[in-house]
Symmetry: C2
């Protein structure tokens, strides 16, 4: 019995090793098609606010899916259209919904080291290492893994879309069908916070129904290994202002007498965190669920190169409260992202300032609701003796309360999401990638950052994971965004594995 199982496993591994070999071989013999389709897609400007070019992107991508036999259409919304494509596989009992986005971050063309962020440039390596440009990219018969394509959305998030098409092509060429029905939704407003995504569910719920969502966005783990991400932290933002005199007063004429709001803000902030970086706001970590042994092992198995990161950032040691990065991601943060009070440097004046403000972002985990943490933060500020106001204090409030602070929520919150790594479909995906690579992917229980589609995941109601397939050093959101071709090719294999899960 045991022997039989082992034999079956060997067969399965061998079979999926074939997928890897097969897809790799197909990629190697299709460089011109792959690179050509990528360059075509990157040549269409794609800032969400540029409605006419956005539609060109959508139409172009719809055509690429239709050509592969997908049923593909534009789903109109109050904003930019969603590109929805669907491939029904005979006999498949489950459905994957793959998510990418076709819009990109706005650009400052002057900051780019090329004529136009939407005229892609191929280079022999990293621009910041002096890699030369390779002319006539479309005429090449072969490219090298270390070569990079520089363009807006080269990695975030058009190459994943072309990568999905390539995985479908490669499997088809080997007569291997996906083992699930495949739906693909392409968002045209991700970099503008995806305002049309949740409302679209009301109109298109049936189309969007699936068993597992696979988000193909963001970079792989910095080791470059295949990566599956089970969750991401959410975010809430708040400005905390402590008030002093109505306007700045002379620090000589009133120093030691009129209270200083910057000193009071400093004390208030200091009361929120201990020297190890642990948040002291009562109950801040209470809701965080204890982790299972399996989850702990997962965190420990992530091959983070802490020493390299610390060296890169010029930091001698991490916070003592959370010495391991993956552990740190399992807890909410209370981060001071900015401080302001009067002026420092050449513009400084000898005054007691009228106010001092800390801009704070709170990264949420699945268990911590933003409203709950905000209420705890407010209670903490009150417990430090502050009267908390929701607007500028008036004369009456000023006369009555010695210590006045304002908590102003900024923007909208984004929830965290997390799919349990023991969810059967998530596990099946991991197993499929493990079979193809003969080792498990890097598994991230919770990514530190925030994905704006968390509300979409919540609203759809089925599990979601991220399978990023681009290089971590891609300059995403910045100038000179780029894609390392070898990482992308590996990612196409990973997508093929997912389609065969």
């Amino acid at each position: 019995m045991k022997r039989l199982f082992a034999a079956a496993l060997t067969f399965a591994i061998a079979g999926e090793f074939d997928v890897r070999t097969t897809v790799r071989a197909w990629i190697d013999s299709h460089h011109p098609q792959l690179v050509g389709e990528l360059l075509d897609a990157l040549a269409i400007p794609n800032v969400a606010a540029d409605r006419s070019n956005i539609r060109k992107n959508a139409e172009h991508l719809r055509g690429l899916f239709a050509r592969r036999g997908f049923s593909s259409e534009l789903l109109e919304t109050d904003g930019n259209p969603l590109v929805f494509s669907s491939l029904t596989v005979p006999g498949a009992s489950r459905t994957l919904l793959l998510y990418c986005h076709y819009d990109g971050q706005p650009v400052d063309p002057r900051a780019w080291k090329q004529a136009d962020p939407w005229t892609p440039v191929l280079r022999r390596g990293r621009l910041d290492e002096g890699a030369a440009e390779i002319p006539n990219a479309r005429a090449l018969t072969r490219v090298e893994p270390d070569w990079r394509v520089y363009a807006r959305s080269a990695s975030d998030d058009k190459s994943p879309i072309i990568g999905i098409l390539a995985a479908v092509d490669a499997l088809k060429a080997a007569d291997l069908a996906p083992t699930s029905n495949v739906k693909v939704i392409l968002d045209g407003e991700e970099e503008a916070s995806s305002p049309s995504l949740v409302p679209a569910i009301g109109r298109y719920r049936d189309r969007l129904k699936a068993d597992l969502m696979i988000i193909v966005d963001g970079p792989t783990h910095s080791s470059g290994r295949p990566t599956v991400v089970f969750g991401a932290r959410g975010i809430a933002e708040v400005d905390l202002t402590v008030y002093g005199p109505k306007s700045g007063v002379h620090s000589g004429n009133y120093g030691n007498w009129i209270p200083n709001p910057a000193a009071r803000l400093a004390s208030l902030l200091a009361s929120m965190k201990d020297d190890d970086g642990r948040v002291l706001v009562k109950g801040f970590y209470d809701a965080v669920a204890p982790m299972s042994d399996e989850e702990r092992r997962m965190l420990d198995s992530v091959p983070d190169d802490s020493a390299r990161m610390l060296k890169t950032f010029g930091v001698a040691a991490p916070e003592r409260a959370f010495p391991k990065l993956q552990q740190a991601f399992q807890y909410p943060t209370l981060n001071i992202r900015g401080l302001a009070s009067a002026h420092v440097g050449a513009g400084a004046r000898t005054i007691i300032p009228d106010r001092a403000t800390a801009a704070i972002d709170i990264r949420l985990v699945k268990e911590t609701a933003p409203a709950d943490l905000m209420a705890k933060l407010r209670a903490h500020v009150e417990a430090q003796g502050f009267h908390v106001v929701d607007r500028e204090p008036d004369d009456g409030t000023r006369a009555r309360y010695s210590k006045i602070a304002r908590l102003a929520v900024v923007g909208t919150n984004t929830n965290a999401f997390r799919t349990s790594p023991s969810n059967p479909l998530a596990r099946a995906l991991v197993d499929a990638i493990t079979r193809v690579y003969a080792e498990p992917p890097v598994m991230i229980r919770t990514a530190g950052g925030t994905v704006p589609i968390a509300p979409f995941i919540d609203a759809l109601g089925f599990p979601a994971v991220l399978v990023p397939i681009v290089n971590f050093d891609n300059n995403q959101h910045e100038e000179n965004e780029n894609l390392r071709l070898g990482t992308w090719f590996d990612g196409i294999v990973t997508i093929a594995a997912a389609l065969r899960m």
Copy 2:
């Protein structure tokens, strides 16, 4: 014996009451001359950097003193000339050195509610209360006490110069000679930190020799009563920077792991002061000498209207450590005059900032040397676990030390000064003013602010006091600087009292 003394006192008081009546009567009958001389002086632009106009001011003022029988000359320096005038009084055994300055703060003419800050405007009261302009000021035969002259240097510090001349004129008209030899020095660079003043002592020591310096600058106590100020706090300025990662890092990708410099700065600042506003830096107040009962009584006798000040500033209560303003002035301060780290408000980004800076000013008292307090501050920062650097930390420093802070001294320190209120000459001056007004002046042991000529006082080596004679609400250093005529007229009486001390 007692009776004889009482009789003498009565005679003296009566005599000096005559001075008040006499000087007041002279002022009342000389409005056109007084206002005319003031307007003439104010019409000459007087920013220290404007060398040619500065010299016109100096020549003009030299002429006014010479016309009164003073020996008057320009003392050349490496900067602007000093106007030095001297009147020897037969039989006088002591010498007063009166100090004023003839330069003024730079102006932003667009911020002024008149065509030109050097074209004085006479108003029926306060501009901000809508007081109307009075045309043809030079043709008036009488002015009212509440009327105000609006011009740069109207109060800071040209009216004191014209006031000294008027006091001399008034005494002379009554055949009353000053009881001391009188020297007057007019600084042409006070608003530019008086760089030529101390060096001038080397060249002109004999001329500057005196027994008591009387600085006629700044506003009277807000009660408007005659005021004598025995000292002023000094100042030292320092920027405190706490370092984080070499450049800002993503608050999601690294939050809870890479230490936040703004949080560490907040904790560091919080460690420096308790909730009552008392500085916790070890030994910060140690050098401050205990006060005598007489000095305590002096502090208590200052008629500060705390309730009004708090209401004006919109502050419910002063710092608990120093509930009385005059008491607060006797101690050094540690004031956060500015905070900066990345951005707050619309420009805020979700990062862990690369650094956070607090701009600090320390107001010094006579007993606290700036170098000593700086050393104590540095020791405090080190005691909180920080490695203190003098420049941007390099990679080696960053790798070695987890907590790094920089203390950067800004500009040059100005020492405090204080003349003992029991100094016989200071006492004689107070007595003279007390006789003239039949009540003692407001006596300020230590003014909260800083006078830049403290090093000059130190270098000369004889005692100094301030006798301010202009209204406290004069908008000094700002746009729409002004002089209330009634306060100035009272001040001329006070100067006459000093000349008769």
